[in-house]
C-alpha cells in the first residue's frame, strides 16, 4: 500500500469489556461497529467495505444492514484485523471501495452465540499430529517453544515474570483494565502452575468484548471529525499451523517477515517509534516480538524488559493498555492492540504517551502461526 494514503477515521471498542453474558457474539460485533460509526459520524449506509474474522463478513454486513462492494474474511487468528487493515488500505488505494468497516466481537468468556472451534478435527494435521499428545488449547501449545529460548539465551524465570509485572503497571493506569492491582515477580512465580514454565499470571485473560475500525482515504479523512491516524506501513505472513513445525523455537518467521515488510513500506527507523503494541497472549510474546521486529538483539529482550525500558517512564512504552495479560483478551486480541495505538495517536489513551507520533501494532495469529504488523502515525511521515 502507499504510505499515508489511507487513514483510520473511526475507532471504538464495545461499550463494556469483561463479562458480557447479555450479548451474543454477533451483537458484540454490532455494538463495537455502532460505537465506531458514532465516533466518526457515519451511518451503516456510508460503509461500502466490510472485513471481519470470527464471524464471516456476510453475517456482519447483513446484521448491520450494509451492502458492501468489497469484503474480506481473512481469518488467521488474533492478528486477522491487522491483515484486514492492510487489505483494506490496498483496496481503497485500488478504488475497490471507499470506506471500510473492520469488526471484532467475541464472547470468549460467556460463550453466547459461539460455535466451538476446539478441539480441531481429528483428520487435520494438528488433529493427527499434535492434539493426541494433550495439546488442549493455547496454554499447552503456545508455551512449548519458550524452554528452548531460555536455554539458548539464558532468559531467566524472573525476567519472564517481569513481563507480567510491567504490564500490570500500565494496566493500573487504565480504568477499563480487567486487573489493576500491582503484582511482584514473586506473585507471578508463586501463582498457580498452568503449564511449566508458565504460571497463571503469565497467561492471558479470557473475557468478552469487541472493537471496530473505520478506514477511508486520507483525502476523505479531512472532512471527518476525528484526527486521522494514517497507515504508514503494513506487513503480514503465516508460517505453520503446527507449533512443532516452527522453523526455530527462538524466533517467529511470520513475525520477521511481517515486521520487515511494514518497516520497508513505511521507510521509518526503529528510533522513530514512540509507542508499541505486541500481542501478548502469553508472557514470552513481547520478548519474541521485540527481537523479531528488530528493537532488541537476539536474546536481549528479556533483559530489556526487566530493566524497565518498556515500563511507564521507559524509552519504549509497550502494551500501554495492560495487554492481553491485564487489560482484556477475548480470544482474538489484535483488535484491542490496534485500538490502543489509535487512542495513543489521538492523544486519548488512559496511560497517554506524551507527544506520541508513531505507533506500531504487531499481532500474532494462532500459536506463532500467523502475523500482521501495522505502522501508524498522526502525521503524514
Amino acid at each position: 500500500m502507499k504510505p499515508n494514503s489511507v487513514a483510520i477515521v473511526g475507532a471504538a471498542e464495545t461499550t463494556e469489556l469483561g463479562k458480557i453474558p447479555n450479548l451474543s457474539q454477533i451483537q458484540l460485533h454490532a455494538d463495537a461497529a455502532l460505537n465506531a460509526l458514532k465516533d466518526v459520524g457515519l451511518k451503516p449506509s456510508d460503509i461500502d467495505g466490510v472485513a471481519t474474522a470470527g464471524e464471516i463478513p456476510t453475517n456482519v454486513a447483513y446484521y448491520l444492514g450494509i451492502t458492501p462492494k468489497w469484503v474480506d474474511g481473512t481469518s488467521v487468528g488474533g492478528c486477522s484485523f491487522m491483515l484486514h487493515v492492510r487489505h483494506a488500505a490496498a483496496a481503497i488505494n485500488a478504488g475497490l471501495c471507499e470506506t471500510v468497516l473492520i469488526t471484532h466481537g467475541e464472547s470468549g468468556r460467556s460463550r453466547v452465540g459461539v460455535s466451538n472451534t476446539w478441539p480441531r478435527g481429528s483428520s487435520t494435521l494438528p488433529g493427527q499430529f499434535e492434539m493426541p499428545f494433550g495439546v488442549a488449547g493455547p496454554p499447552t501449545m503456545f508455551t512449548i517453544p519458550v524452554l528452548r529460548y531460555m536455554k539458548e539465551y539464558g532468559l531467566t524465570h524472573e525476567q519472564l515474570a517481569m513481563v507480567s509485572v510491567v504490564q500490570r503497571e500500565w494496566a493500573a493506569k487504565n480504568p477499563r483494565a480487567s486487573f489493576k492491582e500491582p503484582i511482584t515477580v514473586d506473585d507471578v512465580l508463586n501463582s498457580k502452575m498452568i503449564a511449566y514454565p508458565f504460571r497463571k499470571l503469565q497467561c492471558c485473560l479470557v473475557t468478552d468484548g469487541g472493537g471496530a475500525l473505520i478506514l477511508t482515504s486520507a483525502e476523505r479523512a479531512k472532512d471527518l471529525p476525528q484526527k486521522p491516524v494514517y497507515i504508514n506501513g503494513t506487513g503480514e505472513s503465516v508460517e505453520t499451523p503446527l507449533i512443532s513445525q516452527m522453523e526455530d523455537f527462538t524466533t517467529s518467521k511470520a513475525f520477521r517477515v511481517s515486521g520487515q515488510q511494514a518497516f520497508k513500506e513505511s521507510g521509518i527507523t526503529h528510533g522513530d517509534v514512540d509507542h508499541l503494541m505486541i500481542y501478548d497472549a502469553f508472557a514470552h510474546l513481547p520478548i519474541y516480538g521485540l527481537e523479531d521486529l528488530g528493537f532488541c538483539d537476539r536474546g536481549g529482550a528479556g533483559e530489556y524488559i526487566a530493566n524497565r525500558n518498556t515500563a511507564p517512564g521507559g524509552a519504549l512504552p509497550l502494551n500501554t493498555n495492560g495487554g492481553g495479560l491485564s487489560y482484556m483478551h477475548s480470544g482474538m486480541y489484535g483488535m484491542y492492540a490496534l485500538q490502543e495505538s489509535v487512542r495513543q495517536l489521538r492523544g486519548t489513551a488512559a496511560a497517554q504517551v506524551k507527544d506520541a507520533k508513531v505507533s506500531i501494532a504487531h499481532g500474532v495469529g494462532g500459536m506463532f502461526a500467523a502475523s500482521g504488523t501495522i505502522i501508524m502515525s498522526n502525521e503524514k511521515i
Partner: protein, 136 residues
C-alpha cells in the same frame, strides 16, 4: 475452552502410511528423491522442492528433547501433570510427542537429552509415537 477429550487421529489418504507404520511399531518419514530432504508430517510431495518423487523411510527412533511444557491442568486420558514435548529426530524432522517413562519434572526432563521412540496403543488401529529417555 470447549470440553476436551483425548483425541484419536483419523488418517487421511496422505497420512495413512504413517499410521500403518506406527501400528507395526515403525516410525516412518519421507525423503525426497530429488533433493534428499527428509520431512514430516507426511504429504506426497517434498515441501522443499515440490518434487513428487518421494520415498518412505524408517526413522531410527533416536531423538533429542527440543522443548516442552508440563501441563498441570487436568486432562481426560492423561496423568496429571504430564509433559507435552517436541522432539528432534536423528534424521532431522521434529515432532510433537510425550516423554514417558520418567518423572514429569523439569529436573528429569532436560533439553537435548537422548530419547528413544516407544509406541502407545490408543485404539486397535492407532499407535502413538512416544519417547522415553534412552538407555545409558
Amino acid at each position: 475452552m470447549a470440553e476436551f477429550k483425548k483425541q484419536v487421529p483419523r488418517p487421511t489418504p496422505e497420512t495413512q502410511h504413517f499410521w500403518d507404520g506406527t501400528k507395526k511399531q515403525q516410525l516412518l518419514l519421507q525423503q525426497c528423491d530429488q533433493c534428499q530432504h527428509t520431512y514430516f508430517p507426511p504429504r506426497p510431495f517434498c515441501p522443499k522442492c515440490a518434487s513428487t518423487e518421494v520415498t518412505i523411510t524408517q526413522a531410527s527412533g533416536k531423538a533429542t528433547l527440543y522443548s516442552y511444557v508440563i501441563n498441570h491442568r487436568p486432562l481426560p486420558g492423561f496423568d496429571n501433570p504430564h509433559s507435552i514435548a517436541v522432539v528432534e529426530l536423528e534424521e532431522g524432522p521434529r515432532m510433537m510427542s510425550n516423554i514417558v517413562g520418567c518423572p514429569q519434572t523439569p529436573e528429569a526432563l532436560v533439553l537435548d537429552m537422548a530419547l528413544d521412540v516407544t509406541f502407545e496403543a490408543l485404539t486397535d488401529d492407532i499407535n502413538l509415537a512416544q519417547f522415553q529417555p534412552a538407555e545409558a
